[in-house]
C-alpha cells in the first residue's frame, strides 16, 4: 500500500509540473500580454495550453483518488511540492538560474508546506483498519 501512495504522490506532482511547464510555454508563445481577443486566440491557438489542461484534469482525478485512501497530510504536501520539480526543470528547459533568493525562498516555502502537512495529519488522524 505504501508503494501505491508513493506512486500516487509522484503522479500528482508530475501532473502539476506538466501544467506549470505548459503554462509557461503557452504564455511565452502568446506574448505580448494584452486584455484582448487576439491574446486569447494566441493562447488557445497553440498546443501547450492543452498540456496545461491535461495536467489540471490529471491532477484533479489523482488528488480525488488519493484522498480516498492516502493520509491527508502527505497528500496536501505532495500537492504543493511541485514548486521544487518546476524550479529544477526551469533551469534545464528555460535556462533560468537558481539565484540565492530563489533557493532561500524555496527552502522556507517547502519547510512551511511540510509544517502545514504535519498540521493536517494531526488534525485528521488516519482511520483505523484502512
Amino acid at each position: 500500500m505504501k508503494r501505491f501512495y508513493l506512486f500516487g504522490f509522484l503522479l500528482l506532482m508530475g501532473f502539476d509540473t506538466l501544467s506549470q511547464i505548459s503554462f509557461k510555454y503557452a504564455g511565452t508563445q502568446a506574448l505580448p500580454v494584452a486584455a484582448s481577443v487576439a491574446w486569447l486566440l494566441r493562447v488557445f491557438g497553440q498546443p501547450w495550453v492543452y498540456g496545461a489542461i491535461i495536467g489540471y484534469v490529471g491532477a484533479f482525478f489523482t488528488w480525488m483518488s488519493l484522498l480516498k485512501h492516502a493520509p491527508i497530510g502527505p497528500a496536501f504536501a505532495a500537492s504543493h511540492l511541485e514548486v521544487v520539480s518546476v524550479m529544477l526543470l526551469s533551469v534545464w528547459l528555460f535556462d533560468e538560474h537558481l539565484t540565492v533568493p530563489r533557493v532561500l525562498g524555496a527552502i522556507a516555502i517547502v519547510a512551511g508546506i511540510v509544517c502545514l502537512g504535519l498540521a493536517e495529519s494531526r488534525e485528521h488522524p488516519p482511520e483505523p483498519a484502512a
Binding site: P101, R102, G112, R122
Partner: protein, 126 residues
C-alpha cells in the same frame, strides 16, 4: 508586500494579486457549494449545487484565474512565478479562518509564516 524591486513591474504585481484573489474566492466558493449539509446526496446534491450561484462563481473564478496565471508566467521566470504563487496556500488558510472559523493551530501558524517569508524573499530579491 512587493516594493518596486527591479524586475517586478506593476503589471506583474497586479496579475499576482489578481491570481491570489481569484484562487481564494474560487476555493471558498467551492467550499460554500460543497459544504452545505442540507444538499442531500448523489444526483440530488449536484442538482442542489447547480441551482445555486456558489458552484458557478467558483468555476468562473477558476477560468479567469487560468488566463491570469498564463499571463503572469509569461512575464517572469517560471521558477520565480511558482514560488510567488505559493502565497495562495496562505491566503486560503487565512480566509478559511475568518469565513468558516477553521482553527489555526500553532503548527499551522508556523507553516503560514514560513511560506510568507519565502514568498517575501523571492518577491523582494527575485
Amino acid at each position: 508586500m512587493l516594493p518596486a524591486a527591479g524586475s517586478i513591474s506593476s503589471l506583474v504585481a497586479g496579475l499576482w494579486l489578481l491570481n491570489v484573489v481569484l484562487d481564494t474566492c474560487g476555493q471558498l466558493a467551492f467550499k460554500a457549494a460543497a459544504g452545505n449539509p442540507l444538499a442531500g446526496d448523489g444526483l440530488a446534491r449536484w442538482k442542489h449545487m447547480a441551482a445555486r450561484p456558489w458552484l458557478w462563481l467558483g468555476i468562473a473564478c477558476y477560468v479567469i484565474e487560468f488566463l491570469v496565471w498564463i499571463a503572469f508566467l509569461s512575464l517572469i521566470p517560471l521558477s520565480e512565478g511558482v514560488l510567488l504563487g505559493s502565497i495562495n496556500i496562505v491566503a486560503i488558510m487565512v480566509a478559511g479562518r475568518f469565513l468558516f472559523g477553521e482553527k489555526l493551530t500553532r503548527l499551522r501558524v508556523i507553516g503560514i509564516l514560513l511560506v510568507t517569508l519565502g514568498v517575501t524573499i523571492v518577491g523582494v530579491a527575485g
